[in-house]
Subunit: 257 residues, 2 copies
Amino acid sequence: MAALALGPAADTVYGGDMDIIATRLSDFCHSCSVRNRAICGGLHDDEIALLNNIGRRRTLRAGEQLSWEGDEAVLVANVIDGVLKLSTLTSDGREQILGLSYSSDFLGRPFGQTTPYDVEALTDAQVCVFQRAEFDRFAREHPQLEHKLLERTLTELDRTRKWMLMLGRMNAEQKLASFLLELSSRLAPGDCSSDDDALQSIELPLSRQQIADVLGLTIETVSRQIAKFRRDGLIDAPSRRQVTILDREKLEDRAVC
Amino acid sequence: MAALALGPAADTVYGGDMDIIATRLSDFCHSCSVRNRAICGGLHDDEIALLNNIGRRRTLRAGEQLSWEGDEAVLVANVIDGVLKLSTLTSDGREQILGLSYSSDFLGRPFGQTTPYDVEALTDAQVCVFQRAEFDRFAREHPQLEHKLLERTLTELDRTRKWMLMLGRMNAEQKLASFLLELSSRLAPGDCSSDDDALQSIELPLSRQQIADVLGLTIETVSRQIAKFRRDGLIDAPSRRQVTILDREKLEDRAVC
DNA sequence: CGCGATATTGAGGCTGCTCAAGCCTTGTGG
DNA sequence: CCACAAGGCTTGAGCAGCCTCAATATCGCG
């Protein structure tokens, strides 16, 4: 189905014969922009080649879903480019976003039966997908990969817990300030979390409604807080999807944490 | 220092000569109540013996801390018995509990530099602690252990995300109902998450204040919600630290999720 | 230009917080 | 065994922050 369909690039590649496939896919990895930051970093060339055999590039359009909550977890993936959201619905139909995935993040639930949340591309995105069963087998045979995956999962757990703190204890102003600051550092090209190269001008990958879903607020509250930050000269918002941080220090004060 | 001091049992054990040490510690593992549920499950006997050489039993009194937020992460541990909390402080001094750890859970941050939260025993507890550096080395050499650790971390991440949903989207009533239900299943002797053997009578390991810190509420709100559940006949609360679930179904209705 | 989707702004209400007083439990000392 | 104190818990009153509902404005696309 849609979630499993290959992107045009992958289709082309699989049209050739076996040797060519390996070569071409290997080229994918060698030129991959997240090669050293994603979990594949640290693998030997021959391991990369093997991984290539089971991985496929896939291009997602903004709004497209990668897998569905509760489905048998058939896919895992590396994010190459773009921003994706992990989300789930409350029983009364509201959405809560559980996490955002950026370039070089790992997506999905290896060694599990079901995907516990929806994955949807917020921007146009490129991912490198694997059939879960194949990935699991490969990971078990390559401890170096499992180790990278473990480190990444531990980091993600730390990040999620920090987010919990935000949801549980911050007010609307603090939530929005934290959110903008985090976004400006996660969207920075290096992705390395050194705050120095954090962006001043952010192209928001989320609508107001989605920001509200991230922060556990309503769209109106988000809108009012943005308006307040503008009035106070902390940010500028030339268009709906753009934000410029004018006074990072004061914004950090508002974020508190 | 306090955090590193050995419990009396370990002191005794280390008093003997080398051969005896290994044997005695091995006995610890063989009789360990979480042997098959914790990450050590699936290790060979000789691996267990090696692990024994670097692990120590430690008994914690309720209220005692295991490591401190921001400290260099020197310890990791398995929870053998009892309930511990992971928590952090907001800059304005309120506490947010980030997670609870029960029997057979893994504690700490391997492969990281700092412990990103406080760990404190809520009840008297027994843990099996390792120096982080030694544990890291052992884990790198034993992929089977790393694999178990990865699975556990992934599960913990899923659980944390569900908790996030609760903090972001639930009202006080839903939060408390969910909390009581989760507690009754996590405290059940099997620990297996089959809801069948969930407890009806819970001995609360947390004070009202701590419950409030878990749920992102105030102590007054927690108290009022408990009073309401009692009035409505959903629970009984014979003493401050005891709760009996009288009508699980209706409680689940209140929890919504 | 005009329509639909998205966002902003306003008014009013409710949930949960704050502040405050009193109660119950537990432990200590006479 | 009782008196008292201290800490934890409950209950109440009032308030603030955020949500809800509603009207209006703006953006983006045909």
